[in-house]
Symmetry: C2
Subunit: 366 residues, 2 copies
């Protein structure tokens, strides 16, 4: 059985590594000649506009899925005429556009920060609706903090709008959040749903650096709210596969920030830290297999390796450390790998995290 | 970094899958064109006698290891002139020969059943030393019950000797064992040693069917004896890599049966059932990295899939089931894959094992 993945980055790579033991082979489609998934899977190297290449890619696939946010919806629609595409292309149309995304979240009763589309002719109208401080964002093609500006004054706002034009924009109120969380859920072809523990995320320079799973200091109330939200999203969209919902915690409230209709960086801990990893569960879901248990095994911390790689022997000297390198060459700001630290208690995880930070010279959270 | 593996079966395949996340690539050397590791690693397809192919294989490798018992020691010696071979070829010379193996075990004070080499001119002499019932075995090229006969009378013994000739033979007393166990240990280039929990093994028709890890009903006394034995073996041989020691339990005693100087079927449970799997630890060891923790995560059962494959969806419907298919075509008696069932208690493992047996129609232990 062969599954096609649009995109050949680390997510496709980890899907491929999870696929082999299940008797599934992955083929990836990516225009980049050095796509890192190509080291572990067959690589179709062509442009997303190349319909002949897409048609060849679709041949003989059990289904096709996608590993990245900004996939060409045209390519997905083209493929969908030939083979099952999961999740469906309509899902990508919604979540590629930050305005449609927020409107969709609101439409199913999931709270978000106040937001408004920016009318380039009358930009201040949107500002009046959300107030300052706020965040100006491009509606499309933003990820890892790209395509957005935090602004504190009307003047800053107008400058940001000018800088980000001619892209279509929206503006969101700046949430006075205490922390960032995310919840990953998975829904199979048969409608079965499983939800992972709530994860606490720490970003720097717009890039995820550290995830703690499960999130600290939750009595179960936050997990329950987040599980409700992700379940509503999965069901309302008739969604198939893993989905991530990023959340802001404000007091006892959770506000939805972003949806990723795919496996997600804040779920990488699940490879060792949960009974079944997100990559395996995504495959189980899109192929209609029963889902694997999403319960945690102990507690985990996931540390992203950004821009440069630490010495392998230092990482492996820390008890409970599991290294995942993506086979990419170092470049500033690039995600090159991650480490999952597993432990049997929160205190042990904190000790190991401190030890890891000493070993590899990482800035620790808090 | 590239590691070479002699042999391209499921052990090499699982080594390759464990290698990618560590930034290591595996290349395998195997004369079989459809070697299953070739699906996940570069395959050098040539005969073990082909020195030009071996020389090309050795080029650029960080080191070379081996996945199977009956590797050509000549090939290993040839490679060792060009590149580090771990474990060293002398280890294979000992453990390929059941007589040298048992003599070595005795020489380091590890008890075995009584045994004697069979002199083809005077075969009854050996029988007189060990008595009946006993097991006649070829000294070389035996695995999975091949090359051996259990005999109960002098006449059967002489028939067996005749049938197994002209191979060099030995005869061993038949141990009145209560159960079969195995212990896996790993020693790194730096001399660091780690030992996995003692495993209980159930065979049928000479092939491993089920492993329970940790072994049931051990107060720690058996683990302690087995840890002592495997540590003595690893240290006395200056061994590098994972080693398995198969044992018979007779009362409170453990008798050594066989040594496998490689990753081992009775250690497959460790992929999910231990903090660090045997395949990763073998790679860590031969590359001189710190070893990973060998502690169990809950309790596990490993079920071999022999000859035919159950429906994937049935396997995945059992909570805690982790499926590993090797990409091999079905054939009677062939190891096609395994399932590891992980659970948080022995009672839960037993329930899940019963459920799995119902789902896939396997004969359960006991």
């Amino acid at each position: 059985m062969v599954v096609g993945v649009l995109g050949g980055g680390q997510l496709a790579r980890m899907l491929a590594l999870a696929a082999y033991p299940l008797g599934i082979r992955i083929e990836v489609f990516d225009p980049t000649s050095d796509a890192c998934a190509a080291q572990v899977a067959v690589h179709h190297c062509a442009a997303y506009e190349d319909e002949a290449a897409l048609a060849r890619f679709a041949e003989g696939k059990a289904c096709i899925t996608c590993e990245f946010e900004n996939v060409s919806v045209e390519a997905m629609r083209f493929l969908a005429n030939q083979v099952a595409v999961r999740p469906a292309s309509r899902v990508w149309e919604i979540f590629q556009d930050r305005l449609l995304e927020k409107q969709y979240l609101r439409s199913v009763g999931i709270p978000t920060v106040p937001f408004a589309p920016v009318d380039p002719q009358r930009p201040t109208e949107a500002l009046e609706q959300v107030g300052c401080p706020c965040v100006v964002k491009t509606r499309r093609f933003g990820y890892d903090g790209k395509g957005q500006r935090v602004v504190r004054t009307r003047e800053d706002y107008l400058t940001a709008v000018e800088q980000l034009a001619p892209h279509a924009l929206l503006v969101e109120a700046y949430a006075p959040f205490e922390r960032e969380l995310s919840i990953l859920g998975v829904r199979s072809l048969s409608g079965e749903i499983a939800v992972y523990p709530l994860v606490e995320n720490h970003h720097r320079e717009g890039i995820l650096r550290l995830s703690l799973a499960p999130a600290r200091d939750d009595t179960g109330a936050l997990q329950s709210i987040a599980t409700g939200y992700i379940t509503r999203l999965l069901e309302s969209l008739d969604y198939v596969g893993v989905m991530a919902l990023e959340l802001f915690q404000v007091g006892e409230q959770l506000l939805a920030n972003e949806v990723a209709p795919r496996v997600h960086n804040s779920g990488h801990w699940s490879i060792e830290g949960a009974e079944t990893g997100q990559f395996e569960n995504h495959l189980r879901a899109i192929l209609g297999y029963p889902l694997g248990c999403t319960a945690p095994r102990g507690v985990s911390a996931m540390i992203n390796l950004i821009g440069e790689l630490p010495p392998v022997e230092r990482v492996l000297s820390v008890p409970g450390a599991h290294l995942h390198l993506y086979g990419k060459s170092p470049r500033p700001g690039r995600k090159l790998g991650h480490i999952t630290l597993r432990a049997d208690s929160v205190a042990e995880r904190e000790r190991r995290l401190q030890q890891l930070c000493r070993e590899i010279g990482l800035m620790c959270h808090n």
